[in-house]
């Protein structure tokens, strides 16, 4: 079974991944799956009715709003970074957490490097499939690189302007 890095209660750990990420031209295997938005729209109801957990993989050029009504049924939203410099998924994660109150797993997939750790955590990602061989320790270090944050964000970290008033 594959692994991914999971952030839970402030701790990064390597955790077994029960989900199989299925591309559109594969047959759906047994067990929990992550599928594309298109496939979810066609087959999601049936897969969920079978009692398994389902996640959706959202490409960078797809609209996060398309998931709005299905979010309570989704165990994972996997946001794709086609290149690590492509920052659209940060907005999607922030919207999932803030606007749609999504509390399931938000997973970073694709060109995912430890350099993005701080940004991802602040925008609400809590699972990571790094492409650079980085470890939970690397992510821990990278995510805590800055002792302060200037902005309010979805991670509820105390922003500098509140710290200053304390």
């Amino acid at each position: 079974m594959p692994w991914r890095i999971r952030l839970k209660d402030g701790v990064f750990a390597l955790v077994e991944d029960p989900f199989t990420s299925v591309s559109d031209d594969w047959a759906i295997p047994q067990g929990d799956v992550i599928i594309s938005l298109t496939r979810f729209q066609a087959e999601g109801d049936r897969l969920l009715s079978e009692g398994r957990k389902v996640g959706v993989r959202l490409e960078a050029d797809e609209e996060v709003e398309a998931l709005a009504y299905d979010l309570p049924r989704l165990s994972v939203v996997a946001l794709v970074f086609p290149k690590f410099g492509d920052g659209r998924a940060y907005s999607y994660a922030a919207l999932l957490r803030e606007r749609f109150n999504y509390r399931g797993e938000i997973r970073a997939v694709g060109d995912v490097l430890r350099e993005q750790a701080g940004f991802m955590v602040r925008c609400g990602f809590d699972a990571f499939e790094p492409a650079d061989g980085s470890t939970p320790e690397d992510w821990e270090r990278a995510a805590h690189r800055f002792r302060h944050a200037y902005q309010r964000s979805t991670d509820r970290r105390t922003p500098a302007f509140v710290e200053r008033g304390e």
Binding site: R88, Y90, E115, F119, F146, R152, A160, F161, G165
Partner: protein
């Protein structure tokens, strides 16, 4: 200026430590150049023709003497004894070793400076009026807002990986000294009829291959709602800006493609959903305002005898005052412009020795305040008129008193082919040749305000599109040619210049500018600047004169 607290200092130290680790991983081969490039860029490091270039942020162009001395030290220790002030009010060192970069960043952090987000596809250094806090024209101090934006945009979780670079300007006076309409966002502070403070919001300006003047998407945004509105603009751009073509990735392309009304509608819809939860509390704005140490202006008569006597006695000083000293809000004070455009020198360059002289003058006579302008000059914003003669002599002794503000030799030029890997043609030497044509200061003053801007390639770092005379270097079969445009402006009357005609070879550019000026002097009506005359007559008489000589 704004005093950093421990949080601001910790941010710089942490960033410096992060980058030191990234450089180490690059040098050990753990990071490849493709992975390292966006990381070094957002720490100001470019790979240029001869060496690494380090671009140091000077937030809203504001410096104190300690910082300027540190820049002089870095120039002397790690570079060739000088630095280059840019149109983004930053400072560039062009001869840096990669392995020295982390040490330089540590030196900078000691004086509350950094190179964070001076490059890369993120929110860059904020521009503000270099006369902020000194001019009577301003509605509010734009630095307070610029500093709040600096903090908000630093390591922003959502907006650090945009489609392309992103530049914001804040101005608060009717005379725009920031080129706000050429920025991705231009913010113009205004007061409503009821006296409340707000911003006119202009979005989608930019130069480069496809120049755009930013249209206004909101006439009046209540000041307290600034940050939720910025979030709405940036989110709309982050999601919908083009990422398939680097030349079409700036927000100006999105605004132009959607149209101003539709873009504004999308921003407003997003803004409504965001609500006021993203706005900065008034208490923090008040704290920032308070952290700008207040100036202590003496109560002085509006006129100074020493100043008037020096003007009467020394024509050269009188000329300097006419061109380089501007009215200050406090009676008996003046704003002193320090020209980095000495005839024959590289526009924007300052030697370490010159930086130290300016630092000393700011300390002795200028309330420890120094500004950088987007036109690549420096400003001592608060000098007592009675001290101006002494300041002038000290500046003149090191070649910093050229009396040419806004005149034809006050040229903006990018580094061009002398330094830059992107350039097609030289820019600096073209500027030098033009300045030499107008070395006679009487003639330059007769010509009056004339903004010449030169770029060595289509990326337009020299802002040629918005020059009254714009000059763009192009490559024609391995030879340097130059396209001239007329009638552009980056100020409140912003416009993109109009092509004059076919490109000219290198050795004809300065003569052509000379001819254009002669046409202007012949055609002008009373009180008209070059720009005004051109806008009245159109291109015809100018074109005829330049190409008649050619044929």
């Amino acid at each position: 200026m704004y005093q950093y607290d421990t949080i601001d200092k910790d941010m710089l130290a942490d960033r410096s430590a992060e980058f030191r680790g990234q450089v180490a991983r690059r040098l050990s081969g753990e990071l490849n150049e493709d992975q390292f490039k966006p990381l070094r860029l957002r720490n100001g490091l470019y790979l240029q023709l001869h060496a690494y270039m380090l671009r140091i942020a000077i937030p809203y162009g504001s410096l104190n003497p300690t910082q300027l001395r540190k820049l002089a030290f870095i120039g002397r220790t790690y570079d060739k004894g000088y630095g280059h002030f840019t149109t983004r009010t930053n400072l560039q060192f062009h001869w840096i070793k990669l392995s020295d970069a982390p040490d330089i960043l540590d030196h900078l952090a000691e004086v509350d400076m950094h190179a964070i987000q001076t490059s890369g596809n993120c929110i860059r250094n904020v521009t503000a009026d270099p006369y902020a806090g000194a001019t009577a024209e301003e509605i509010d101090d734009p630095r307070v807002w610029a500093e709040a934006i600096r903090q908000w945009s630093t390591v922003h979780p959502e907006f650090s990986w945009l489609p392309r670079k992103f530049k914001i300007a804040v101005t608060a006076a009717p005379k725009d000294r920031t080129a706000a309409k050429t920025h991705d966002i231009g913010l113009n502070l205004k007061r409503a009829r009821d006296g409340s403070l707000g911003f006119e919001v202009m979005v989608g300006g930019g130069l480069g291959r496809l120049p755009h003047i930013a249209p206004t998407i909101r006439e009046f945004l209540p000041a307290a709602r600034l940050f939720s509105y910025l979030e709405a603009i940036l989110r709309t751009y982050n999601r919908h800006g083009r990422r398939d073509n680097i030349h079409k990735a700036r927000i100006k392309i999105l605004v132009a493609a959607l149209g101003r009304e539709e873009f504004a509608r999308q921003v407003e819809a997003e803004w409504e959903k965001i609500g006021s939860g993203s706005d900065l509390p008034d208490t923090e704005l008040a704290r920032i305002r308070g952290a700008f140490r207040p100036m202590s202006f003496e109560t002085l008569p509006a006129q100074s005898e020493i100043f008037e006597e020096a003007k009467a006695a020394k024509p050269a000083f009188a000329r300097f005052v006419r061109n380089n000293v501007k009215p200050h809000k406090a009676p008996g004070y003046g704003i002193v412009e320090v020209s980095l455009k000495a005839i024959g020198e590289t526009p924007g360059d300052a030697t370490a020795d010159q930086m130290e002289v300016i630092a000393d003058l700011a300390e002795r006579f200028g309330q420890n305040d120094i500004r950088v302008t987007h036109e690549q000059n420096l400003v001592l914003p608060h000098v007592k008129l009675s001290d101006v003669p002494v300041v002038w002599e000290a500046l003149a002794a090191v070649g910093l008193a050229t009396p040419n503000m806004n005149l034809v030799s006050d040229i903006i030029a990018c580094p061009g082919l002398d330094y830059c890997a992107l350039a097609n043609a030289r820019a600096i030497s073209v500027a030098q040749h033009i300045a030499e044509k107008f070395a006679d200061p009487d003639r330059a003053e007769r010509v009056g305000e004339l903004k010449v801007k030169i770029s060595g390639c289509i990326n337009a770092c020299g802002h040629h599109h918005v020059g009254h005379i714009g000059i763009l270097g192009v490559d024609k079969k391995g030879e340097e040619f130059y396209q001239l445009t007329l009638g552009g402006s980056g100020a409140e009357d912003a416009a993109v210049g109009q092509a004059l005609g076919p490109a000219l070879p290198y050795d004809r550019v300065a003569d052509a500018v000379d001819t254009l000026v002669e046409v202007y002097l012949r055609e002008r009506n009373d009180g008209e600047r070059f720009l005004d005359t051109f806008r009245r007559t159109g291109v015809a008489p100018f074109k005829e004169a330049v190409y008649a000589v050619a044929d």
